[in-house]
């Protein structure tokens, strides 16, 4: 599967985990590949996005384009060139 360049954007709140960067570029084939590279390059991202058992933290939102990845059947989907993955906090609570 061809690797394409994608952009990952994240909240300033967790930029300490990426050396201060809130916008990064990866060459990845699938969404799973990209998120894996993100965690490999910045291991604290695993702590902030996922619980110990691997489940995505309940108030973390990860969007691929306009798609909330929580509702995807799996993350093995090929990435479109120049697409964007955005990591946000849910507007939770009152």
């Amino acid at each position: 599967m061809e690797k394409v360049q994608v952009t990952v954007c994240l909240s300033q709140l967790i930029a300490h985990a990426t050396g201060g960067k809130t916008r990064m570029y990866f060459k990845a084939a699938t969404l799973k590949d990209c998120l894996g590279q993100l965690q490999q390059a910045h291991p604290l991202m695993k702590v902030h996005l996922f619980e110990e058992d691997g489940r995505q933290r309940p108030h973390v939102l990860i969007y691929y384009g306009k798609q909330d990845i929580r509702w995807l059947p799996n993350l093995d989907i090929p990435l479109e060139p120049d697409s964007e993955i955005t990591i946000l906090q849910a507007v939770s609570g009152g």
Partner: protein
């Protein structure tokens, strides 16, 4: 020129208040670590410019950050305590950070929610779960209090680094005599927070546990059910409530210079959790807890809030300082006889730490 630094860990970051010894005005700085709950800030022994912040965020989980310049800049530690993937346990917050003692003084301990204790021997780059505690035989029956199932108090014997006490809400006190490998419940003499014949040895809701650094057999605790002292390293506990208006409260602090000088700030009851009659009153003991005297000079009498468990401290020089859950800070340079409000109103104050900078 000596400068006293008061570090506030709050619901929305850390704030610093400082004052030179020969000055009247306080300088305010912050917020640092903006947006994160700062549960505790540990100042490294003998290195006051080195600090560690114990943090959590309700979306992004736990974090520990370190400063080498007195809090001006912070960097995340590369490691964070984590339970094993198949444990069914998760870290919600780093509640407190404590250094080891003696030959183990370079160790860092992290008390966490869900309750457990982790140790790092490489300045926080990696952490090891002390499974004898977090997998204790009674673990299945542990339950948390209003603040969570948190290991909030960690005390390390100053001469014997293998002897460690922890306070866990609403479990009680546990002690290890082998560096954290095995843990024994130490709650004899305390009153259970839930009246039940089950939960043998647990459900003793310690709110804050302090140790006398000059005589580590002496421990003190503000408990959900009262104020207690141990003279035998936690093997037994006795009530010390003579002069107190009630039994409920959260913080407790001991003077680093005087083993007989203790402070607590009682609340009306576990139902109401406000200062009795709205009068903010610090209680001081000068006889090791045998009796308590109220101190109110300079404190407001129309404040309906509280002081959380880690938000009262005594500096190395004997100054007493505390922060309220509604963001006010009060400071005394004369052992609580007179208090002054410090400038600013802050988010909910979780912890107050002091240090002196040259």
């Amino acid at each position: 020129m000596n400068t006293i630094l008061v570090i506030l860990g709050t619901e929305k970051g850390a704030f610093f208040l400082s004052k030179s010894r020969n000055r009247v005005e306080w300088q305010e700085k912050g917020p640092f670590l903006k947006g994160w709950k700062v549960h505790d800030v540990m100042v490294a022994p003998e290195k006051p410019l080195r600090m560690y912040a114990a943090m959590s965020h309700f979306v992004f989980g736990p974090s520990i950050q370190k400063s080498e310049d007195g809090g001006e800049t912070w960097q995340a530690l590369t490691g964070v305590p984590q339970y094993e993937a198949d444990s069914g346990q998760t870290i919600n917050a780093i509640w407190t950070l404590v250094s080891g003692s003696g030959e183990a003084s370079t160790k860092l301990y992290a008390g966490v929610d869900e309750a457990g204790l982790f140790v790092s021997e490489d300045d926080g780059n990696s952490w090891r779960e002390l499974k004898g505690l977090s997998k204790h035989p009674t673990r299945a029956e542990w339950m948390g209090g209003a603040g969570g199932l948190c290991c909030h108090s960690v005390q390390v014997h100053p001469e014997n680094p293998d002897r460690i006490w922890v306070g866990i809400s609403a479990v009680g006190v546990l002690r290890s005599d082998d560096g954290g490998t095995t843990w024994q419940l130490k709650n004899d003499g305390l009153e259970k927070v839930v009246e039940s014949e089950s939960f043998e040895g647990i459900v003793y809701c310690v709110h804050r546990l302090v140790m006398d650094p000059r005589n580590p057999d002496r421990l003190f605790q503000q408990n959900h059910r009262g104020v207690f002292r141990s003279r035998d390293g936690g093997d037994s506990w006795e009530r010390i409530e003579n002069g107190l208006p009630g039994t409920f409260g959260f913080p407790m602090a001991m003077s680093p210079k005087n083993s007989n000088e203790l402070y607590t700030i009682p609340l009306e009851s576990d139902e109401f959790r406000i200062f009795p009659q709205g009068q903010l009153t610090v209680y001081r003991s000068q006889d090791g807890g045998d009796s308590w005297q109220p101190l109110t000079s300079g404190l407001p009498n129309n404040i309906y809030t509280g002081v959380l468990r880690q938000a009262l401290t005594v500096s190395d020089e004997g100054s007493v300082v505390f922060g309220t859950s509604s963001g006010q800070v009060y400071f005394s340079e004369d052992r609580g006889e007179n208090w002054q409000p410090l400038p600013g109103t802050y988010p909910r104050i979780y912890s107050v730490t002091t240090c002196t900078l040259d």
